[in-house]
């Protein structure tokens, strides 16, 4: 029961009084997938203000970066966004390699691209399942996890880990891939394409789903730019911003892929962007396996003690949720002076307050689900 004293009378812009109450979404709530807390001021079922409260899972990753060597900090990068750990490690080793002017062997770069894209598919699959869970459909989650399991098995075979890989090392990779991995990945690509088609006919074209997410939670280009939203969020608003194309890194310029963009800016557009991205990632993986060069997977002259020359180094990658950038400020010591992590989820979350104003609670949850938030990525 809502007590009288919990209700607050507010005067709206048009002069009418309205009674509002505060409802907490989280820190433990099924729709926040973790410990995000959203303090919602509600007018009935309409949201007046939704204020995200961060910090429940803050682990001081940036501070940790300032008191350990580069090699010691490397495993931390997998633990920021645990769903696309591969790309996050890529940004960190990329920044260090850029500072050291290391030439990473082409085979290593190709394998980085292949594994990053596999990681992207697994991340999008988790999002897909969790998003539909938010909308009340439980079954797709288990189908998504079924597919994701195959990716995790493949990655586990070469990295020894299922989630926090730390597979990329400064100057290359932890180890080379084997024939079993190549065979398994080809089989996975062949199998995943019909699955995507099935997901389309089973879920994307479902009328209940379409009614729930079409024209729900529109986000304009301007709003994306204002809050620095990246990844599928900005691409769903019609801006073809993809770090892989805008600031090409690693072996990406050698690959042929399309950056899917949709003009609508609603939850459906973001949904379709991610579904299409999975298909594009499959293309990239296939090309990578076809063109995989031979050679070593580790650069020759990697110093045993990594000491970056004084300066300011930045490396950005396209993670599953958007632009992830690592900025290292070095003062020529073994330990960096400052490590700045630019995470996409924080920027994507920050537009939630503006975008959700005036929405209905279930619609706002559909919007939040379509932003694909990973809470440790927000708090880091």
């Amino acid at each position: 029961m809502i007590l009288k004293e919990q209700l607050k009378t507010e005067i709206t812009a048009d002069g009418a009084p309205r009674e509002t109450f505060v409802i907490n979404l989280g820190p433990q709530h099924p729709a926040t997938h973790g410990v995000l807390r959203v303090k919602m001021t509600m007018d009935g079922e309409y949201i007046v203000r939704a204020e995200p409260v961060c910090g429940y899972i803050h682990r001081m990753q940036e501070k940790m970066g300032e008191n350990r060597t580069y090699a010691q900090f490397l495993p931390n990068t997998s633990r920021i966004d645990y769903l696309s750990a591969m790309t996050y490690t890529h940004a960190f080793v990329g920044a260090v390699e850029r500072a050291l002017k290391l030439q990473v062997p082409p085979r290593a770069e190709y394998i980085r691209v292949i594994t990053s894209e596999m990681n992207r598919i697994s991340s999008h699959l988790v999002w897909w399942g969790a998003f539909l869970l938010d909308l009340g459909g439980f079954t797709p989650l288990l189908y998504a996890f079924d597919d994701r399991e195959k990716i995790l098995d493949l990655l586990e075979a070469i990295t020894g880990s299922r989630l926090t890989y730390s597979y990329f090392r400064i100057g290359g990779l932890y180890n080379d891939i084997d024939d079993a991995f190549i065979k398994g990945t080809r089989a996975f690509v062949a199998q995943m394409r019909p699955r995507l088609k099935m997901y389309r006919s089973l879920v994307t074209d479902n009328i209940i789903l379409r009614k729930r997410i079409i024209e729900i939670g529109p986000i304009s280009k301007e709003m994306c730019r204002k809050y620095g939203a990246t990844g599928p969020v900005i691409r769903g608003s019609g801006v073809p911003y993809d770090v892989r194309k805008v600031e090409p890194y690693s072996a990406y310029p050698e690959f042929d892929f399309v950056v899917p963009t949709f003009e609508e800016g609603d939850s459906m557009a973001r949904y379709l962007v991610r579904m299409e991205e999975m298909a594009q990632s499959l293309r990239i993986i296939e090309q990578g396996l076809d063109k995989l060069p031979a050679g070593p997977v580790m650069a020759e002259k990697v110093p045993r003690v990594v000491k970056l020359p004084a300066g300011d180094y930045c490396y950005a990658v396209e993670a599953a949720r958007g632009r992830f950038a690592v900025r290292i400020v070095s003062d020529n010591k073994e330990i960096p002076y400052r490590v700045k992590l630019r995470t996409p989820s924080l920027s994507n979350l920050s537009l939630f307050e503006e975008a959700s104003a005036g929405m209905l609670l279930p619609d706002a949850l559909a919007l939040m689900g379509s932003l694909d938030l990973v809470i440790p990525d927000i708090d880091r």
Binding site: M1, I23, E45, G136, G137, F138, T139, Y143, P362, L365
Partner: protein, 340 residues
């Protein structure tokens, strides 16, 4: 010896004994069904999701419902501080008892009904309305914001869906000319083409009528895709957020008992009750087959579709179902006037 005593007692109070037998029978039937429909739901869901489901307790997890019930029974019934304790405890009972009473008039077989009364259909809908109040009370008395938002949703949902459902039922009463469920089934004797579902010469929209009834039944029992009462990803557990132990257990059982009642009613009204589809060997077996097939479809729908948006759901009722059911009602009355 025992038999003669039995006959003696029976001759003294035939009516009370009959009542006790039927009450025990219905309670056992509902209890057993509620428990094992949970098992069917879990196994069915598991199959739709490519996993085995419960396997540990008993063969194929058949003892799982009993283990669950024992667990729920052993839990403390927590009444939140500041909640209206009487109403809070009463709500689950109010949810369960109307179903039990309504099942008394369902004719399971030719002579297998607890009560064969002339206004059976009316009675079911009279008691059916109590459910809404129970959910409302549960949400309101638990003094929880999630619960009360959910309760408000349920009330508007059930009011919206009661109307097309009643319009459909009025159509059926006009077609059959009686509110006695037993008579309704007797009228559908013969092959399956005599069932109300296929009687398109009375009303060409009969299958549509059935569909409207079925959708309303899903909405009335708060089942997916209309499960606003327990929108678990939005409102934690909706109305049931504060309920622990058997308080939750009774709500849970009542949900399945309501599905049972809804499907039994659909069987009686549209699918010919105990009548056999081929015209011979009619009996309680056919009733159960039809009812469980309907229940299976309810489970199937739940694990296939996402939840509807609340306003979409109200729009469906007010803009599609009510006009459609009104149209079938008018069409039926016009056809009856013209051809009878």
């Amino acid at each position: 010896m025992i038999q003669s005593i039995w006959h003696f007692i029976l001759s003294l109070w035939p009516e009370p004994l009959r009542l006790v037998l039927f009450v025990a029978g219905i309670m056992a039937f509902v209890g057993g069904n509620a428990a094992y429909l949970v098992w069917v739901e879990r196994k069915g869901a598991a199959r739709f999701q490519r996993r085995p489901g419960p396997t540990e307790v008993g063969w194929a997890g058949l003892l799982q419902p009993i283990a669950d019930a024992a667990k729920l029974l052993s839990k403390q019934l927590i009444v939140p501080a500041g909640a209206d304790s009487t109403l809070f405890r009463m709500a689950p009972l109010l949810m369960m008892s109307p179903v039990l009473m309504s099942l008394a008039v369902i004719p399971w077989g030719q002579s297998l009904a607890a009560r064969n009364i002339n206004v059976g259909l009316l009675m079911i809908f009279a008691f059916g309305s109590v459910n809404v109040m129970a959910v409302m009370l549960g949400g309101w008395s638990s003094r929880n914001k999630y619960a009360i938002i959910s309760a408000a949703r349920v009330v508007s949902q059930n009011v919206a869906y009661e109307i097309p459902m009643l319009l459909v039922v009025i159509t059926m009463i006009m077609v059959t000319g009686t509110m006695n469920l037993n008579e309704i089934v007797v009228q559908q004797a013969g092959g399956f083409w005599h069932w109300n579902f296929f009687r398109v010469w009375v009303n060409p929209l009969m299958p549509v009528t059935f569909l409207i009834f079925y959708i309303c039944m899903l909405a009335e029992t708060n089942r997916a895709p209309f499960d606003m009462a327990e929108a678990e990803s939005e409102l934690v557990a909706g109305v049931y957020t504060e309920y622990a132990g058997m308080g939750f257990g009774v709500f849970f059982m009542a949900e399945y008992a309501n599905i049972l009642l809804g499907c039994a009613l659909a069987t009686v009204l549209f699918l010919g009750g105990w009548q056999s589809p081929i015209g011979v060997f009619s009996g309680v077996f056919w009733f159960l087959v039809k009812m469980y097939l309907l229940i299976f479809s309810v489970v199937w729908i739940r694990w296939t579709f996402p939840r509807t948006q609340f306003y979409g759901l109200l729009n469906l009722s007010w803009k599609i179902l009510i006009p459609a059911s009104l149209f079938t009602l008018i069409l039926t009355s016009a056809m009856m006037k013209l051809f009878r």
